[in-house]
């Protein structure tokens, strides 16, 4: 017992003056932010509302089924239940428009009584309405993103023609496009 203690005594007395405790909950100095957050820590989600197209890719790939997509008459809501998310980041990786990001905000504790039903991070996109029959079709941002991707990838000789047709297509749902293709001059008959 004595032999082990003597060699430990030196280390123990060095510990007496050097404490490795970090200054959480509040900073030791007023106004100092907590500085020990590592780079890339995955915390609360943040949507960019202008980029999200409401495609539902995050909902399909979510590891634990935390993301749900719900449609009403006017808008589509993407809701992430923080209590079920495991903060893996797959939704962030698969989002085609890079609209979803996991910020380093990890202080998410909450009192159950104040948030009955769970704590959600939500984003709503407005659904455009069909000019022909009036039912809601695609999200408005989806249309903008589709046009951008279409015109990026198409051959430059037909770009103007496709752009003009797209402007007509996007106002109608799939059934109305079929029914009204002659009137709208989008039928391929115009090419021959």
């Amino acid at each position: 017992m004595a032999k082990g203690n003597l060699s430990l005594l030196k280390e123990v007395f060095q510990n007496l003056f050097h404490a490795v405790t970090i200054d959480y909950p509040a900073g030791t100095w007023p106004g100092k932010k907590y500085s020990q957050i590592p780079v890339g820590v995955r915390g609360k989600h943040k949507f960019d509302p202008e980029k999200c197209v409401g495609c539902g890719g995050c909902s399909m790939i979510c590891s634990s089924g935390a993301i749900s997509l719900e449609d009403t008459e006017d808008e589509r809501t993407v809701a992430i239940l923080l209590g079920r998310c495991i903060y893996c980041g797959r939704c962030q990786d698969i989002c085609p428009e890079k609209a979803l990001e996991l910020t380093p905000e990890f202080e998410l504790a909450y009192i159950e009584e104040e948030h009955k039903g769970g704590l959600y991070v939500k984003n709503s996109v407005i659904l455009a309405k069909c000019a022909g029959c009036g039912k809601s079709i695609f999200p408005a941002t989806h249309i903008v993103a589709s046009k951008r991707r279409l015109l990026e990838n198409i051959d430059s000789s037909v770009r103007d023609l496709v752009a003009a047709d797209f402007e007509i297509y996007r106002q109608y749902c799939l059934d109305c496009r079929q029914k009204l293709s002659f009137e709208l001059k989008t039928h391929p008959r115009k090419f021959y």
């Binding site: 203690n5 005594l9 123990v12 510990n15 050097h18 404490a19 490795v20 405790t21 509040a26």
Partner: protein, 340 residues
């Protein structure tokens, strides 16, 4: 047999347990703070940084007192198959015994009955109530952890009592008296006993490490092996009383060591000497606590048979050497020991 003045004795009788409790709180805080600092972490804060003061208060020096008060405000659960009389009475018995023991311990020269002829015997007898009540309370709580802890407590008590009593009596033999006030007086006229009989000091210190349940001897309340040992079934007010008993016990042990071996703080003479004596007494007690906490932080826990075997070797041998030393010094320097 002396006649004790009534009012002075009554004041001291009322204030001795209070002072014992408050100093016990301070020494408990010191144990926790030193234990934490030796593990390179900050323990309970002595002065809380200003950013956290709304949440934590100005100072956490009274942390053991907050623990006790919180326990006294909680609900008490008593197991249905326990022996209710034994279970409920045990902590109060320990508390009463320790309160009576504080009347006999000189605090920098002041005490109600420190000048009683056999005060040393009375104190050692009353302190024995604490492990006894652990045994009784643990066995009466009808839980397997309590019974195991009670058995270990009884074995540990047998182990450390022998070096403790022999060591303290070696000092008493050299001082030729069993009264604590006279032992302190004896040291005042000569050297403190830590120089006159260092073997006794070592043996008694090692016995106190076991008595206060500091590692490596916190076997009866072993955290991981038996869930809290004899005090498993206690909760709320009874647990608060157990914590009060432990707090007063650390003061009693530190004060006993200071009085018997370190001259009890009475080194000064002069006009302000009572104040200096009190300060020195408290500082000596905190020094003892520091060393006990150092041992506590540096050692793992022993098994009960290892602990008994170790106590039967080094502390027992040291205390027997102390006894022989006491007689040898008394024989070789008769004029030093007797007279003056």
């Amino acid at each position: 047999m002396e006649i004790y003045p009534l009012i002075e004795t009554a004041t001291l009788m009322i204030s001795a347990p209070v002072i014992a409790f408050l100093l016990g709180v301070a020494y408990c805080y010191e144990v926790r703070k030193v234990f934490a600092r030796l593990q390179s972490r900050k323990g309970p804060w002595f002065i809380v940084p200003s950013a956290l003061r709304p949440m934590l208060g100005f100072s956490r020096m009274l942390q053991p007192l907050y623990d006790i008060l919180k326990l006294l405000y909680k609900e008490t659960l008593v197991p249905t198959s326990a022996n209710k009389q034994l279970f409920k009475i045990a902590p109060y018995l320990a508390l009463i015994s320790l309160v009576i023991a504080t009347w006999f311990i000189p605090f920098a020269g002041y005490s109600s009955f420190g000048a009683f002829e056999f005060s040393l015997v009375v104190i050692l007898y009353l302190i024995l109530a604490v492990p006894m009540t652990f045994v009784v309370g643990g066995a009466g709580s009808s839980s397997p952890w309590g019974v195991l802890g009670a058995r270990r407590e009884a074995e540990l008590m047998l182990a450390y009592e022998v070096p403790l009593v022999i060591g303290i009596f070696a000092a008493a033999i050299m001082a030729n008296s069993l009264s604590l006030a006279e032992i302190v007086n004896f040291q005042k006229q000569r050297l403190p006993f830590i120089f006159l009989n260092p073997f006794a000091a070592i043996a008694v210190f090692l016995a106190f490490v076991g008595k206060l349940h500091m590692k490596p001897f916190d076997i009866p309340e072993a955290d991981v092996e038996i869930v809290a040992g004899p005090i498993t079934e206690y909760s709320g007010k009874l647990l608060g009383i157990v914590e009060i008993v432990r707090t007063i016990l650390i003061f009693v042990c530190a004060a006993l060591f200071t009085n018997v071996f370190l001259q009890g703080g009475l080194v000064f003479s002069g006009s302000l000497s009572p104040l200096f004596s009190v300060v020195l007494f408290i500082v000596q007690g905190s020094l003892i606590t520091f060393f006990i906490s150092l041992v506590h932080a540096m050692n793992p826990r022993y098994r009960i048979d290892q602990a008994f075997g170790w106590y039967a070797r080094i502390p027992l041998a040291t205390s027997l050497i102390a006894l022989a030393w006491a007689y040898a010094i008394k024989f070789m320097f008769p004029t030093l020991m007797i007279g003056v």
